[in-house]
Every structure is written in C-alpha cells, then in structure tokens.
Subunit: 232 residues, 2 copies
C-alpha cells in the first residue's frame, strides 16, 4: 500500500504512516466480544469464510491478535457466527402456528412465511448460508434438517388434512418438491437480491402471499395424485 516510505517521520502532527495511529481503547470483555462477533458477521457475509483475520480485525478497528485473544481460532469464531445468526433467529412458534387450526390453512401458512421471510431475508443470513454451504456444508446438516422437520413436514401434514387426505404416510417426491419449491423460492428472493444484486421486492408480504397461493393451488392437483398408492 504505502509506496515504500520508511518509518522516519517525527512530528506528531504527521499524516499516519499505514493507518490511523490507532488510539488504544480498552473495552470490557463483553463489549469487545460483542463487537468482534457483530463485525465478523458483517465481514464474513461480505468476504466469505475465507476472508482474512487481519482484514476483519482492521474493519473492527483492532489488531488481529486481539481477535485471537477472544476466540481461540478462526474456526471457533465462525462457529460462533453460525450459532448467532442461524440458531439464534429460529422461532419455535412457526411450527406451532402452522398447526394452529383455529385459523384457516392458507392464512396460517402465509403468515408464518411472511414472518419467516422477514427473519431470514437479510444480507448476513443469506450470504453466510451460501458461503458455508459451498465451503463445508456445516450449516446445512443442522439448519436444513431443522427446516425440514419443524416447518416443511408439518406443512405437508396440514396440507393433506386440508385436502381431506390420509396424513400418516411419508411425503411423496412430488409433495416434497412442491413444498421445497415454495421454501426455496422464498430463500431465493434473498439470493437474487444479496448475491445477484437484483432489486428487493417492494411489497414482500404480497410476494410471499402470492407464492403460498401458488403452492396451495398446485397442491390441490398434486397432493391427491398418489394419495391412494402405498407408501415407499
């Protein structure tokens, strides 16, 4: 960066050599740790999990060994980021609301997905998930299992009940594809915006509502198709 200027300056008023002379600021352990985590979430979402620790430290405004003082290794920091972003934002109420038959079926699913969309459609959430998926699949096995069991499977069950079908059998391929098509399509809104750089929908609730509507309309044709056949 600096075009080979030897560290020969003397006057305090001089321009900083490499970066701002870094006024050393002491924070409490909790504050600094919080600051590092938040900085890491932003940084890794932009630069990927392969981003450098030195660069991360610079964006936070500290030296890079300090990060190692708070987290024993890069991997430990990344795992903490996972826990904060994915496990920390999951709402168990989604599953309950899907199953709450005091409300009409389509409205239940719509309202849950509007809230789900609001929760996950953030830059960090979308980009870190994709980065992780490509890197080692660490999140998938945890997070997507959670999604499948706690959200999609219950929706398949409720859909069958809504359509007056037997709801005990394993989901068929067509049923699975349909619900994953809805789920993935909503996630893909985030991919389009934060990865492809497309414009974010102005009216997200309307878009989600339309998606759920498309799901319900298709389910009426597709779910009954194999309802009579034996499972497996």
């Amino acid at each position: 960066m600096s075009p080979s200027s030897p560290p020969s300056s003397k006057t305090p008023a001089d321009a900083p050599r490499t970066a701002a002379p870094r006024r050393r600021q002491r924070l409490s352990t909790e504050e600094r740790e919080r600051q590092i985590i938040e900085g890491a979430i932003q940084f890794f979402s932009e630069h990927g999990l392969a981003g450098q620790m030195r660069e991360l430290a610079t964006t936070i405004g500290v030296s890079h060994p300090l990060v190692f003082h708070y987290f024993p290794s890069k991997k430990a920091l990344i795992e903490r980021v996972y826990a904060e972003v994915y496990l920390g934002r999951w709402k168990p109420e989604w599953e309950h609301r899907v199953k709450d038959r005091s409300e009409p079926f389509e409205e239940r699913v719509t309202r849950v997905y509007i809230d789900y969309a609001r929760t996950i459609l953030t830059k960090e959430w979308v980009r870190i998930l994709i980065h992780s998926a490509l890197a080692d699949g660490y999140i998938n096995d945890n997070y997507l299992t959670l999604v499948g069991e706690r959200l999609l499977r219950p929706i398949i069950g409720e859909t069958r009940i809504e359509l007056g079908l037997d709801d005990d059998r394993e989901p068929t391929e067509a049923e699975n594809e349909l619900i994953w098509g809805l789920h993935g399509g909503i996630f893909y809104i985030g991919v389009r915006h934060w990865i492809y750089g497309h414009k974010f929908p102005e009216n997200l609730p309307q878009v989600v509502t339309d998606r759920v509507r498309a799901f319900v309309l298709a389910a009426r044709e597709i779910f009954p198709r194999e309802a009579g056949k034996p499972a497996g």
Copy 2:
C-alpha cells in the same frame, strides 16, 4: 494421512514416496489445453474459485507451472471456465420455442424448461455459478441479464397474450416475482442437490411440469391484477 512411515525404501519396486514418479507425457497443445479446462471446471466446482493452482494441477496430473504455460494467470483460466460452462451451454432455441404459437402455451413453457433444467442442473453449472456470484458477481451481470431478456421477458409477454392482456407494458413487480419464482425454483433444485446434498428428483420432467403448472395457475390470478393500471 500415512501414519508416520519414514521414507526408508530403496528398491525400485517400492511404493512411490510422495506421488507417482510422474511419467512425463507430451500432448499436443490442443489436447493439453482441453484437459486443463475440463479439469479446472471439475476442480473449481468442487473446491471453489479459491482452490489452489497446485492442487488443480495435481488432479490433472501435471505440474503447476504447466498450467501457467497455457493460461497466463489464474484469473484467465477462471474466465475461460465461465465462457465454456455458461455461454457455451446457452441455447438460443429456447427463446424461439417460447414464442412458437403453433404449440399450446403451457406446453411450450414446460418443454423449454424441461430442456433448460436438463442443461443447467449439473454439478459444475450450479456450483460454479454460486461460487462466482459470491466471489465477484462476474457471471451474474452477464448470465442473468441474458436469462431475463431472452427467456423470462418473452415468457411474461406470452403469458399476457395467453390471458388476453395488453402485452406492451413493463412487467409489474408481481409478474416479475412470479416468473423469477419459477426460474429460481428450478435452479434451486440444483442448489438443494449439489450444494445442500439433498437427493435429486427421480422424475425431473414431472417436477418441472408441476412447477410450470403452479406458475400458470397463479398467473391467472396475478397477471390480470394490475393489467389496467398505468405502467411504472
């Protein structure tokens, strides 16, 4: 890997110490270049664009300076991979078939998307696109513009005609979201398989057919909604 076996062998028949003693094999420029490109496509799809040149060379079975003999830099090699995989596989006939009104509308779209799905749902295609999108967005600006103009925009036009609507106005947000939902949902089949490790659909044509059906059903509700309002 090898549990600490000291390199103490002497006889020529012994197992090679580090790797096979690499029998030097001369190929024509064309053959070797082809081999490097194909190897790079596979390698980068698995290890990401940050994968090391040495490791790539090893999987091909050559030394890493040889790769630099054929491509001046890593970046040049990656750009060649882009061109091979994305530009090389696009079929202009897709746009023509969408507009060919001798066939019923839904069948046209279905058949084009079945072929499109077969073309892009490969490991290299899906993984390299995502890697690239995260890294620098190099492909998006090129490839997704192509998709939008040559495939999605024509489908919106044909859908409006099919529904008896004015087809001159700019696509509304709801229309755009719906067609991108279809398109993204199909791409997301690949993401689920090659990035998340889910099972690939046994009956892909049926899955695509169902998706197009869901699109058409929803379009009948959504497309007429703003058809009367002024554009913009």
